[in-house]
């Protein structure tokens, strides 16, 4: 187990390094550098920046250094907690990220719970009652959930709600609660606004999980130990819940790690359509404005979170299922 653990830690660290390199490359892709942007903003306000001054600024920020030196300086600053400055929001990147962190985490947590609560029972039902009308309906919606882009569901739902009730279901808080301190009323208001985004974000995740759950359980149900258990007189419910479902849940654990990046990804687009105050929406605004430090930080952290998630799920799987860690050793 220790060897397994160490190997996984090494993989995770290498992956995190690779992601940081990619984030750094993306930050440096747009033409020009920070000083070019600075000169442009100064010009816009009527200040002229002289060539010498620009050069000394470049020296000061180390923009004339070789790329690898720039990278190591950048990553050192990040690890010290200095994420740079966001031009678009005119605030440190850290402040911008912290602003909507709670909303993003809340949305993610609700979505994960939604996916589990909906997908696991439906997956079990679909496998146990294979080829029943319920199974076909679940499979159909599963495919639909995978095939329809999130933003399209969001847009259509928003339109239908607007058309039937005249209510514009955007944002996460009603106007009067936006800056209010937390209270029961605000929580209730948030819950109401959460329903639509959680359901939409959850749809694709649910669809994927139902398919995995169903396929795994079907494989398990064919195995001889199930027949043995049935022969021994276990009720059908005990029989299914006791062994096959537990085995079939293994991939569910590993998939949960992928749910996190999935929600980060999905929320970017959905936040744009539904105007949700999340990091995803800030990220998109940063991208269109070429606010590189903010967008770079989001790419970096969403990548790191994914790797950590995968790492944790690998450990959980190895802990739950001894076959996995034995196979690797």
């Amino acid at each position: 187990m220790l060897a397994f653990f160490i190997r996984r830690v090494i993989y995770a660290v290498i992956a995190m390094w690779a992601v940081s390199v990619i984030a750094f490359v993306i930050i440096n892709l747009p033409a020009g550098d920070f000083v070019t942007t600075y000169i442009a903003t100064q010009l816009a306000t009527g200040n002229l920046v002289l060539e010498d001054e620009a050069e000394s600024l470049r020296d000061f920020y180390g923009l004339n250094d070789p790329v690898y030196v720039q990278y190591s300086k950048w990553i050192t600053r990040i690890l010290q907690g200095n994420l740079g400055f966001s031009f678009e929001f005119n605030a440190p990147v850290r402040t911008v990220l912290e602003m909507n962190l709670t909303n993003t985490l809340l949305l993610g947590a609700f979505t994960v719970v939604f996916i589990w609560v909906v997908a696991i029972p439906i997956g079990i039902y679909s496998a146990v009652k294979q080829y029943s009308p319920g199974d076909y309906i679940a499979t159909f919606f599963g495919f639909l959930g995978l095939g329809v882009p999130d933003f399209l569901i969001g847009l259509v739902m928003l339109w239908l709600i607007l058309d039937t009730t005249g209510f514009l279901a955007t944002g996460l808080y009603s106007h009067e609660f936006r800056n209010a301190p937390w209270s029961f009323g605000k929580a209730w208001d948030l819950a109401k606004h959460m329903i639509l985004p959680v359901a939409i974000l959850g749809t694709a995740g649910t669809a994927a999980l139902i398919r995995v759950m169903r396929a795994n359980l079907l494989d398990e149900l064919k195995k001889p130990y199930v027949t043995t258990a049935r022969a021994k007189g276990l009720t059908e419910w005990q029989l299914i819940m006791k062994y096959p479902v537990r085995y079939a849940l293994n991939p569910v654990i590993s998939m949960t790690a992928y749910i996190l990046p999935f929600i980060i990804s999905g929320s970017v687009i959905l936040s744009f359509v539904l105007d949700l105050p999340t990091i995803g929406r800030d990220f998109l605004r940063a991208l269109t404005a070429q606010d590189i430090y903010l967008s770079g930080a989001v790419i970096l952290f969403s990548g790191w979170l994914t790797i950590i998630g995968t790492f944790v799920s690998d450990l959980l799987l190895a802990w739950v299922d001894p076959r996995i860690r034995l196979e690797e050793d």
Binding site: Y11, A15, V19, I22, A23, I26, L29, P30, A31, Q130, T139, F143, L144, L146, G147, V148, P149, F151, L152, L155, V156, L158, W159, L162, L168, T170, A204, G205, A208, L209, R211, V212, R214, A215, D219, M255, Y258, I259, P261, F262, I264, S265, V268, I269, F272, V273, F283, L284, L287, T288, Q290, S295, G296, V298, I299, S302, G303, T306, I307, T310
Partner: protein, 384 residues
């Protein structure tokens, strides 16, 4: 759409196939015939294949199918509702649409009223704008009003128009071309990169295999959409349409090749132990012959299945990127750039038909998914 797309309902089909059903005829079938035979039984996959084929016909004949020039701006006809095609007048077959009469309401907004007493005749193989197909300059279109110099009042807009009065239906036909071409080019790149790296990985094993596999794991651990968006946003907005097209194609194929590499490597490793490979070695075939003559035919269907499923993801990726204004940019016409005009819900409420390209995306993606699943199930004709 990111996770779990690998796990298809592969067991469904196998269940339905009765193992005793195969008669003597099956035994003399070639591998390809066997796969086809098995694929044919999967009705949903067959239907999906027909739909995908129709989409590709649209790619080739988009201008012939279009009724108006997709780039034609008609300020007098913005946001006209769809003029559905009517095939019968009473009981008499008569291809026509109802004329739209535009007027201003009390808020001075333009409103269109359908007047079915005034018919606009629609003809088959009508003359319209000129286009090039297979090197020929043609002006015949499947449907039209048979007048290349048609005025805005007389023109037909089967699926309505957008904010600039451009014909949605004709734009959809043209948009299908770009959206599918991005996918095809992306798949082409992915197949070349994926299969060669996968083959190298499986063939040499050891350190190289480990390196490639770990790299794939790292690439797959990066959240797709933030990376796609980050890369797409870094491309300068003043790039030409073609240059942007290729840049976006490369962005959307960044992940697809990893799946192909894994499939090829997995199949290669599984097949190395097979009896027929051992037989070929014993018979004295050289390495190249074994790989290309004996092993590769068993890969084909798996590669096609993985490519079909990746194609669906690429179409979604392009649509999403362009919808956000970070993928293809106007004047390029694709599903994504068309949906870009339907970005906010107020516009959608005003002109719901702007979401019709979304229906095309959904139908195409679902068809590709079903087709891919069907091929994957049929890919291993010797399985149970």
């Amino acid at each position: 759409m990111v996770a779990g797309s690998q796990a298809g309902p592969s067991s469904d089909v196998q269940e339905r196939v009765d193992p005793d059903e195969g008669d003597a005829k099956v035994e003399v079938m070639s591998q390809r015939q066997l796969i086809w035979h098995r694929f044919k039984r999967h009705r949903l996959a067959m239907a999906a294949t027909v739909i995908v084929a129709i989409f590709y016909l649209i790619v080739i004949f988009s201008d012939f199918l279009a009724t108006n020039d997709p780039e034609d701006i008609e300020a007098a006809r913005q946001y006209t509702p769809p003029q559905w095609l009517r095939v019968f007048d009473g009981f008499k077959p008569d291809l026509h649409v109802c004329r739209l009469v535009g007027s201003r309401d009390e808020f001075l907004r333009k409103v269109y009223v359908k007047d079915c007493d005034q018919k606009v005749d629609v003809q088959i193989f009508a003359r319209g704008y000129e286009y090039k197909l297979f090197g020929l300059t043609l002006d015949r279109h499947l449907l039209g009003v048979n007048d290349p110099e048609v005025t805005a009042e007389e023109a037909i807009f089967i699926l309505g128009t957008d904010v600039q009065g451009r014909d949605l239906y004709s734009r959809l036909m043209r948009g299908t071309r770009l959206s599918l071409l991005i996918g095809l080019t992306g798949i082409f790149i992915s197949i070349i990169v994926g299969t060669s790296l996968g083959a190298v990985s499986g063939f040499y094993g050891g350190f190289i295999d480990n390196l490639i596999q770990r790299s794939i794991e790292i690439i797959r651990s990066i959240p797709t959409i933030p990376l796609y968006l980050g890369l797409a946003a870094a491309f300068p907005a003043d790039w030409s349409v073609e240059r942007r097209f290729f840049a976006i194609t490369i962005v959307v194929s960044l992940f697809a090749w990893t799946e192909l590499a894994r499939v090829v490597r997995g199949r290669y490793l599984a097949m190395r132990q097979e009896d027929f490979v051992t037989a070929a070695i014993v018979a004295g075939a050289n390495q190249r012959r074994i790989i290309f003559r004996h092993m590769l035919p068993s890969f084909y269907s798996h590669i096609i299945a993985a490519s079909t499923l990746s194609l669906a993801l690429m179409v979604i990726s392009e649509t999403t990127l362009s919808f956000l204004g970070l993928g293809l940019l106007p004047p390029a016409i694709s599903y994504g750039t068309m949906l870009f005009t339907a970005q906010n819900v107020q516009t959608v409420a005003l002109a719901p038909w702007l979401l019709i390209p979304g229906i095309f995306v959904v139908v195409l993606v679902l068809a590709l998914n079903f087709m891919g699943d069907g091929i994957r199930d049929a890919a291993d004709p010797y399985g149970s």
